[in-house]
């Protein structure tokens, strides 16, 4: 990749949150733990950025306040590091695919760009909301490979 390709080669790095402590009730066989914001965020925070060897959490593309679990499904908003980031769709797709793989199918998922943080947020949101386009994208082997790169566990 040439310098011109990496659009933001010196981004701000944020600290990672510590891993979640296990509570008493989580160890109790009988108790039911509902899926909460933090759990979904934990699934997503280790996704790698396509351009940097950093996670979406470290780049503050995802933060805990923008992952919400509601009655009717899950809302995830992500913030591209710069408003004209061309990787935004890819990042959104990675988030979507990750959620498809790790969440029960009954939950509805909405992935979108945080309002006002990208020049073409409308187009990106539309693409990400379109189930058929997401499925079609994943049939493209090259694209799937790139997404898998972002999702591979790196620890």
């Amino acid at each position: 990749m040439a310098a011109a390709d990496v659009q933001n080669f010196n981004p701000t790095v944020f600290s990672k949150s510590s891993s979640r402590a296990v509570t008493e009730s989580e160890l109790d066989e009988a108790a039911t733990d509902p899926i909460d914001d933090r759990e979904v965020f934990d699934h997503l925070r280790c996704i790698k950025d396509p351009e940097h060897p950093l996670t979406l959490e470290e780049l503050n593309v995802l933060d805990r306040d923008h992952v919400r679990v509601g009655d009717d499904g899950i809302d995830v908003e992500f913030t591209p590091t710069i408003p004209h980031c061309s990787m935004a769709t890819l990042i959104g797709l990675s988030i979507r695919v990750k959620l498809i793989r790790v969440l029960p199918a009954r939950l509805k998922v909405r992935v979108a760009v945080t309002p006002g943080t990208h020049v073409s947020e409308g187009a990106i949101n539309k693409q990400l909301a379109d189930k058929e386009r997401v499925t079609a994208a994943l049939e493209n082997n090259h694209l799937l490979e790139v997404v898998n790169q972002c999702l591979a566990a790196h620890d």
């Binding site: 310098a3 066989e29 029960p104």
Partner: protein, 862 residues
């Protein structure tokens, strides 16, 4: 072969300065007739002597003795006029190697002829094709600017050629430096220039060095204004090489003002990095700091130069950034530089050390952090002080005292246990470099705290003792500390609770461990300690609480090994007997106390006795006979209830373990009895806690017994045998596993099907260890294992079981692709149920496992 060895001999002969004057001509004659060496080793040569070995060895032989000069130089000149290229090269290289040992006087008469010959060669070489190409390319650099990128690539390609002459290299570099405005070109073209220089520096350093200052100036021009990080990366690496080889450049260009060149280069780098260092929140801060640290560790002058610039810069940035996370990044970088200063700059005298000027500021800075309100900043401060104490002159006496004072307070009273731990570690570090400060400042504070007998005093005695043990790593302080601790234990007013006693013993243990591991010879101290401890035991001051008995036993074991060493050499017969008796007193006191305790406590004691029994090597026979007699009556069970028998069995198992480990003759008796007692049910698992070298022997002897017993056992007893087996499997070495495993696998799989959750858990643990260590054993069984594991992920009753099954399944995904691929869809489908499990931890494991199975076959997975 003979040739090489004779030359080697010859070399030795001269190296050892045997009197060779009288024979120098004869010696020269026998050797020189081989020059130049033309030898191709036969394909079947058993000695594998290469031509190059011979050439090098012969060359150094000729150069080994100055007396050869009058004979050798004419020979070399003669060979220079030969027609064979290799002979000429060999002659020139030999000439180069001989020049120094022969000395200017011997060379003088031949210099005109050498010069003529070399000139002739050079002129002829100039005509070679590569030379022509380079000259052509360099000429094209003067042409139209649109040609230049292509020329640069041509030069890059030719820079990699091995037979490029020194002259060509010089003209190539000069051409680039003179004709090309590097920074006016595109990134890729600039990269070609950097790569060219890098190739030349990497492979032809010696040929570039004569260019000296010209080269460095040219390089500065090339680098000046570079912005692309990838080019900068190469550029920085080149700077490292240039810095590292600067002394050589110094030799070659004595008339240049070299100091200023190094300064120029470093100044340029620092200018380039300055703004990155001012932005600790951005991504490039850390890499830049790393690069500068590399530059600083290239040589002493570079280190001094970089540090004297960077350290004040970092300190002022620290003061400019109010936010803690930024400050922390800055300080951690500063600490990195200080560590480099600990390696370099040591030789420099104090005044010129780059840190000397700022040492006041640095130490004040770190000392002030020690009382910061934020925990992370205190931690950084402590880390900084630790690095500072490693350099002798950075902290003056006054500040050492201040630091020690701060640290001891932090170690005892700080709110965060992390900080307490780090302070104690730093004090321990200080005790090695500044024992007198510890002795004068820290000891009085600690002892004072210990005198305060009240239970709810400001600092728990346990913490004080922990710190005391930490700072006693130095031999002198250690001796004092032990005396203090013994007298503390003796004093009933101070050492008033069980936990205090345990902490005191723990402290003793850690001091003794430190002695043992540092190999200090402290036999006399060890012996004295045994006597003291025995006295304490007799006085009843060693009644430690349950859960801490292990400490005492570890202590005993260590002292035993220390003392047994001295037993055999130092003492007379009477002394030895006395020592043994003291040891027995101690060991038996603990063994027999086991009689009175409750079940679990008994097993803890038994467990702790094990190392002690183990430690007193040759004396175990006596103990084991008495113990076995005692225990057998207990196990036979007369009036005892179940708990009593359990307790006795525990002790039994531990003793037999100690014996098995020692390969003691009585071990077999013990073992067969414990196998017979297996009917006592789940206890049998204790039996399998064997480790280290004896595992294999134990496994080979025991597994047939177990398998046979399994087939005979009544149905409800079978699981116990499986538990024993699966636990044992975890500990045996690979090689044994490979040969012994196949017959056991059906048993293992059976235990996965069988309903007992405990058994399934331990089998899963064994299985995942197998999958990680020896996956080849299980490749053939994936078709059986995967469905079994999938069934287990749906076990309602045990969350742990579901999690281990999922974890196991995740490891299965790393088996070879062709083995797991057929199961991929099935696993992904069936795991979706686990994603909706009611327990979060199960969902977490399921998500991880399903994620792995989803990317099966993708590049990242392979």
């Amino acid at each position: 072969m003979c040739m090489l060895s004779s030359i080697v001999w010859f070399h030795f002969l001269i190296d050892y300065s045997l009197s060779t004057e009288n024979f120098s001509e004869d010696l020269f004659e026998v050797v020189s007739c081989y020059f130049p060496i033309d030898y191709t080793p036969p394909a079947t040569d058993p000695y594998a002597v290469k031509k190059d070995d011979l050439v090098l060895m012969l060359r150094s032989s000729l150069a080994a003795y100055p007396g050869f000069a009058p004979y050798c130089l004419p020979l070399l000149l003669d060979k220079l006029s030969s027609d064979m290229q290799s002979a000429k090269i060999d002659s020139l290289l030999t000439l180069a190697e001989c020049a120094e040992p022969y000395g200017a006087e011997s060379l003088k008469p031949f210099l005109p002829s050498i010069w003529q010959a070399v000139k002739k060669e050079v002129c002829r070489y100039m005509l070679n094709a590569l030379g022509v190409l380079v000259t052509f390319l360099v000429d094209r650099l003067k042409d139209h600017h649109s040609v230049i990128p292509h020329v640069l690539r041509g030069l890059l390609a030719s820079s990699g050629c091995k037979n490029l002459l020194e002259e060509d290299i010089a003209s190539l570099l000069r051409g680039i430096f003179k004709e090309v405005q590097v920074q006016a070109h595109m990134q890729a073209d600039r990269r070609a220039v950097f790569s060219t220089i890098a190739t030349l520096l990497d492979h032809r350093l010696t040929d570039v060095l004569p260019l000296g200052a010209d080269f460095v100036f040219g390089f500065i021009q090339v680098l000046d204004g570079e912005k692309d990080p990838r080019n900068l990366y190469i550029g920085f690496r080149l700077v490292c090489i240039i810095c590292a080889h600067f002394p050589i450049v110094l030799v070659f260009s004595v008339f240049q003002s070299n100091k200023s060149i190094l300064d120029d280069v470093l100044h340029h780098i620092l200018e380039d990095c300055r703004h990155h260092l001012a932005e600790p929140e951005l991504k490039l801060f850390a890499p830049t700091a790393c690069l500068l640290q590399e530059v600083a560790s290239s040589s002493d002058p570079a280190c001094c130069n970089v540090l004297s610039e960077v350290v004040p810069m970092l300190i002022s940035q620290f003061q400019a950034h109010p936010q803690n996370s930024h400050r922390k990044a800055l300080l951690e970088t500063l600490i990195g530089f200080l560590k480099i200063a600990n390696v370099f700059c040591q030789a420099e005298n104090n005044a010129s050390s780059p840190l000397h000027r700022d040492s006041d500021q640095i130490s004040t800075l770190f000392l002030s952090l020690l009382s910061d309100s934020a925990e992370e900043m205190r931690s950084v401060g402590i880390h900084g002080i630790r690095v500072l104490t490693q350099q002798p002159k950075l902290l003056d006496k006054n500040r050492q005292t201040m630091a020690a004072d701060h640290l001891v307070r932090a170690a005892l009273t700080d709110g965060s246990c992390q900080i307490r731990k780090e302070s104690a570690e730093t004090l321990a570090q200080m005790s090695l470099t500044h024992p007198e400060v510890i002795h004068n400042e820290v000891f009085p504070v600690l002892l004072d705290k210990l005198k305060d007998g009240s239970i709810d005093g400001s600092t728990p005695h346990e913490d004080v003792l922990l710190v005391l043990a930490g700072v006693s790593r130095h031999a002198d302080t250690g001796r004092d500390a032990i005396a203090h601790i013994i007298s503390y234990i003796r004093d009933p007013a101070a050492c008033s609770t069980h936990t205090r006693l345990a902490a005191a013993l723990e402290a003793l243990l850690s001091i003794v461990t430190e002695w043992a591991s540092s190999g200090q010879s402290l036999e006399s101290a060890g012996k004295e300690l045994v006597v003291q401890l025995a006295a304490l035991a007799r006085a009843g001051r060693l009644r430690v609480p349950e859960g801490h008995v292990k400490v005492v036993c570890d202590l005993l074991r260590l002292i035993c090994s220390m003392v047994t060493l001295s037993l055999d050499v130092g003492l007379g017969e009477a002394g030895r007997t006395a020592q043994k008796l003291t040891l027995y007193t101690l060991v038996w006191m603990f063994l027999l106390q086991a009689r009175g305790s409750h079940s679990e406590q008994g097993s803890v004691r038994a467990f702790s006795v094990y190392p002690a029994v183990n430690g007193i090597q040759s004396r175990t026979r006596y103990s084991s006979r008495r113990v076995s007699a005692y225990l057998e009556t207990r196990l036979a069970g007369g009036g005892d209830d179940d708990a009593g028998r359990t307790k006795a069995f525990n002790l039994w198992v531990w003793i037999s373990k100690a014996l098995v480990v020692r390969a003691h003759p009585r071990a077999n008796t013990f073992k067969s009895k414990s196998c017979a007692k297996r009917r006592d049910g789940p206890l049998s698992r204790m039996h399998c806690n064997v480790r280290l070298m004896y595992r294999q022997r134990f496994f080979l002897e025991t597994s047939p017994l177990l398998v046979a017993a399994f087939h005979l056992a009544p149905k409800d007893m079978k699981p116990h045998y499986l538990v024993a087996l699966s636990i044992m499997l975890r500990y045996i070495p690979h090689q044994v596993m490979l040969s012994e495993f196949p017959p056991l696998l059906p048993l293992l799989l059976e235990s996965l099907v069988c309903g007992d959750a405990d058994l399934q858990l331990s089998t899963l643990a064994a299985l995942s260890a197998l999958l990680t260590d020896t996956p080849q054993l299980l490749i053939g069984h994936a078709d059986t294992i995967v469905p079994l594991l999938l069934t287990l992920t749906r076990r309602e009753d045990s969350m742990k079981l579901r999690i281990s099954a999922l974890d196991c399944l995740r490891i299965v995904s790393s088996l070879p692709h062709q083995v797991v691929f057929p199961h991929q869809q099935q696993v992904i489908r069936q795991l979706s149920a686990a994603l909706d499990d009611k327990k979060r931890l199960v969902r977490q494991a399921a998500a991880k496992t399903r994620g792995e199975w989803c990317i099966l076959g993708s590049m990242v997975k392979n």
